[in-house]
Subunit: 675 residues, 2 copies
């Protein structure tokens, strides 16, 4: 199932590293089976099995207890035993994994813990296609799907295999260990055949394998399915035959998957069909689906990611389209909103819908896969980005949390060993958004690179790696898009810089100049009240702060303002000089990360050491590419020199402008600028 990662093992270095090899396939769950089975009594099930296998401490009692919220648990040390209590099996399982985590990271004595998840729904969105490719996936092929023709291939060939079951079990255990309890099995850009009976049979197999770990499955649906799968002439949500088709289809699903979670819908967005095709609203569409799911306790997650090519400001549109519908959705509909108003950029302000919508259940959609953050090549720990979102949006104003998964069939699951930390952090924050980025990183590091088997103890050496992780997102912002710059990525693959990308015939809002608007006077998108007015979508205090170039946070400056090249920054530098220095800072940080990692060699197994080193080298080279491409391109507008107190570009703009990455390397990125 898992294929070997393409690694650049330097054979000449073999034998130097003191630690033996690991391939990362065990994620952060590197527990060795206990030599003698632990004494675990009480409620039988997955929690008991996990503890019996891995727990090395004294007796544990698993107890069902009323009065606790679903999935919540308590852990108490009592009379030489450890007592885990919960209202449901999932709660016991989360408690068991909590105890095992403590075994790896801290104390297991004198416990008096009570944990209740912030959200009932903590869900991964897999953008996996039936043919096994993964949209914006950088870790190989889909772990769920792999058929050239999903309709023609019977499910027993693959989904019934022991290898598949083992992969699903590892995936489910990893999710359960951090509290994730839902998974959308297919791409939001959904193929109609996802709802074919053949495909649903496969989904049922997967659901059966995930169920023991408390994970319910969901499906993305194509809104035109009644036409494309059902043979109807319309998919109008108010049409009776359409409603019937959906009702029958939902009944079919629940016969196969009794605990099926519901649908995720991308409608009337980027060419996908939706209710507007039939003169209906998002509410009409979502509510029709909600009604047929309601009897089964299923839900609809309806995405707010909509924008049209005609709009002068893409950032305004989700708000404009959804605010009039506030209060019109059924109670089993949740509007799924990306954290920022554009699209998963290294830094965006929060989407103003979150503070504007008052009468509609909302959930945030984070992107764990690094579509815009260096794919699986760059080490970027995302918890600080998500925590930044929660510093603006109150966690309890949301109903759920979704993350676009970064998971594929690579041996190490995520393409980059440190990308596992983002899967981990997403789960932990979905359980408890009050956890700090540092707490989560410490937990993950200790479990992932801490003492285990033959490894030397890493604990005392954790600090530099911890700092590296905590600095990594800001470093990425610095070398890619500092000071509020956004979406100056290469067309199509979104990997490297192409701030100049603007071919004829491509819609303007898919080209960087639409966003950076660099000219002789300055750069940035004027979203003030005298510009696109986007600031007015924010609460009054923020609106005022963002609207004034002198009070707008500098890290969002060109997001909200067209900033003059000579604008005086808080550092005393001009905007142009500050921009140069930010890129330089990012490059120096990326280079520093390499030195930090290289020093870990004595403490990390050879395989993971070399694979991470290989990636960090790409990252450092890419950071240089970003600096050079962006500064030399923007310099054609600013006509100002690059400051003397920093390193200067080493590449040539004309050559960088000719460079294109071979997109055939998409799944397993091992690329960067070559000159």
């Amino acid at each position: 199932m898992k294929k070997m990662m393409i690694s650049a093992l330097i054979v000449l270095l073999a034998g130097w590293s003191v630690a033996s090899a690991e391939d990362g396939s065990q994620l952060w769950l590197r527990l060795s089976p206990a030599k003698t089975a632990a004494t675990v009594t009480g409620v039988k099930g997955t929690a008991m099995a996990e503890l019996q296998t891995y727990w090395t401490g004294g007796p544990v009692v698993l107890k069902r207890q009323k009065g606790l919220a679903p999935d919540a648990y308590t852990i108490k040390s009592q009379d030489g035993k450890t007592l885990i209590s919960a209202a449901n099996d999932a709660g016991l399982l989360y408690g068991a994994f909590h105890l095992l985590r403590l075994q790896e990271t801290g104390q297991t004595d004198g416990l008096d813990i009570k944990e209740t998840p912030a959200y009932d729904l903590r869900i991964l969105n897999h953008w996996d296609n039936p043919n096994g490719t993964v949209e914006r996936g950088f870790a190989g092929k889909s772990i769920f799907w792999g058929d050239k023709d999903v309709l023609a291939t019977p499910h027993s060939q693959r989904e019934k295999s022991a290898e598949f079951a083992a992969a699903m079990k590892t995936y489910a255990r990893a999710n359960a260990s951090v509290g994730i309890n839902g998974t959308v099995l297919n791409n939001v850009n959904a193929k109609p055949e996802a709802l074919s009976t053949a495909s649903l049979e496969k989904a049922k197999d997967i659901a059966d394998l995930l169920r023991p770990y408390g994970i319910r499955v969901y499906l993305s649906i194509n809104f035109a399915s009644p036409i494309k799968v059902g043979g109807l002439k319309t998919a109008d949500p108010l049409d009776a035959s359409v409603k019937k088709w959906w009702k029958d289809k939902v009944n079919e699903i629940y016969r196969m998957i009794p605990d099926f979670g519901g649908f995720l819908v991308k409608a009337n967005s980027e060419g996908e069909p939706g209710p507007q095709d039939f003169g209906r609203t998002h509410a009409d569409g979502a509510n029709m689906l909600a009604d047929v799911l309601k009897p089964h306790k299923g839900i609809v997650m309806w995405r707010a990611f909509v924008y049209s090519p005609q709009s002068p400001d893409r950032a305004n549109q989700a708000y404009l389209e959804f605010m009039p519908l506030d209060g019109q959705f059924r109670d089993n509909v949740i509007i799924q909103i990306k954290n920022g108003p554009i699209d998963f950029q290294p830094r965006e302000p929060y989407s103003p819908l979150f503070t504007a919508m008052q009468k509609t259940p909302m959930m945030v959609e984070f992107q764990i896969t690094q579509e815009y953050l260096g794919a699986a090549n760059h080490l970027v720990y995302l918890a600080p980005m998500w925590k930044e979102f929660f510093s603006f949006v109150k966690p309890n104003s949301l109903k759920a949390m979704a993350g676009v998964a970064n998971i594929g069939d690579d041996t190490n699951w995520c393409g980059h060993h440190f990308a596992q930390a983002n899967w981990y952090a997403f789960g932990r924050l979905a359980w408890n958004p009050a956890l700090t980025s540092q707490q989560i990183a410490e937990e993950w590091l200790q479990q992932t690179f801490g003492a285990q088997g033959n490894l030397s103890p890493l604990t005392s050496h954790l600090s530099p790696l911890l700092q590296l992780m905590l600095d990594s997102r800001e470093a990425c912002v610095n070398y890619m898009m500092p000071l509020g710059i956004h979406h100056i990525f290469a067309g199509g693959h979104h990997y490297g810089p192409e701030p100049w990308y603007s071919p004829k015939g491509v819609r303007a809002d898919w080209t960087p100049p639409y966003y950076h608007k660099a000219d002789a006077t300055g750069m940035g998108f004027d979203r003030t009240t005298s510009g696109s007015g986007n600031v007015k979508q924010y609460p009054e205090a923020l609106c005022q702060q963002y609207n004034d170039i002198n009070t707008c946070p500098e890290n969002l400056l060109t997001w909200f303002h067209h900033v003059p090249w000579d604008f005086k920054m808080k550092s005393g530098r001009t905007f142009w000089d500050e921009l140069c220095h930010k890129y330089d800072d990012g490059l120096r940080q990326a280079r520093h990360f390499l030195a930090v990692w290289d020093a870990m060699q004595p403490y990390v197994d050879q395989q993971r050491f070399q694979e991470v080193q290989h990636k960090l080298r790409i990252q450092a080279r890419d950071a240089e590419w970003w600096r050079d491409a962006c500064l030399l391109y923007f310099q054609t507008f600013s006509k100002r020199p690059i400051p003397q107190d920093m390193d200067h570009p080493v590449h040539n703009l004309d050559e960088m402008m000719k460079f294109r990455i071979d997109i055939t390397m998409y799944e397993n990125p091992d690329y960067g600028y070559t000159k």
Copy 2:
């Protein structure tokens, strides 16, 4: 004649630069013709013509005066006139160019100058082949030759053209302006047809064009010419028919070129034929040629660059082969010895022959073309390297100075605008080895980038560029081969690093491991008295100093010693850490050069600014390639970490080891490591 350099003009930047374009074709002779012809009286000739065209000051009198050495001159301000006196026309010409240089760089009043050249012979060696290619040439094709079949093409087609004459005039003026008075027209690896009548007719045309500027021509000869051109059965120098053939050939040459200078000979070296093929000595061969040239006042320059694949230390061999012959050469033979005992490395100790030979005329052979110093891509000002040589070898122990030219038919003559400085510096040092590197660089900078035509005055901005030039050779040593490392270049083209290069079947002394000898204990070539004994070829005091690892200069440490990785350096660092830091220093210097140059943009014309910037960017990237390749390769032996207080390699050793530069790009290098 001159073709356009391949330049990467960034069109987007057009219009930014304030200064208009120059192409470098005028070298440092960027004098504008004076608006009214100066009053120049006295001896008619080239000196008078130059002054009439370019001198903008008061009346000048040119006077022949006995008692001055050949080529020497005086310049005196006297009664409102400037008086230039010399014993010969060449002396007057050098005086005229001196005065014009003062016009560009300083005062022309109150002059009382007397200049006498240190050497009678100041000569360029062109490694140009009859087909127009240039061995180790990085500035295009030959300026002299360009025929696919030199024997078949009549000389009138090319050598009689106005374009060719103009190029020869610029070349001759440039040489005369710095005192160069001889030129070897063809490669030391000489084709026999160089002595064919067809080829000699072309040489005559060239000699006629260069003669007005005091430049005599010389030819490299193939020692087997009597066989290959003359049809004899032998080239034994003691054979009467061979002697007669050479006598007839020399007579033929002098009938065509009455002031022909003589022969340069590479014999019994790297596969070239020589007297040893017939059981004779270098002295036998050189003396035979000297005897036939003597009546015409011609000379023989006989190269000491010899080494055999069997020797355990190539550095020992020139000494071993030539010392027994000391005193056996005719007085019109000069032994031409490369500055170092191996081959034009970024740093070598001086060749011990220079202090050992007492009874034989010697000349030093410097390499102006940057075979081992980054070709025409790297800015490396070579005067400091040559001055370093003269700090060990007394200038007056030599009879002449030769430089392997870096000249080709590129528009800017040398491939890199700053490579012109090395041509300039060679000439100035051949005239006066006591000049400092700084004096020469100042002169050249002021003439080459100083105020002229529309250019802004550069004078006050010279300092950073001057420092850049002065630092550049040590920077190159740092990023290529610090601490005495030598000859770890890529096989064949000698451009990038290939310390691992050691393919089967290649003779050992043509592979880097022969020189660096890295192993688990350390690296370096043990040339001490307990090693190859090479130190014993040096005078006693130096021998003792070099022999002891604790007194050996650190910049030659691995040249003379196999240095333990943990050897304590004067900095307090281990040898390994010091090595790492030297590479890091070099990289940081190369990057700094870019920043220095970028700041020159307002003061330099756009074309030269961009062309130099393009080259400096390659240099900075190459410096990173060198650091990464060398440190990662040597680390496979040292098994020590790279220090934390420096940037770490960003490339992967296995990928660098697979990389080969496309040698078809040889003439006009625009390459480097691509990953």
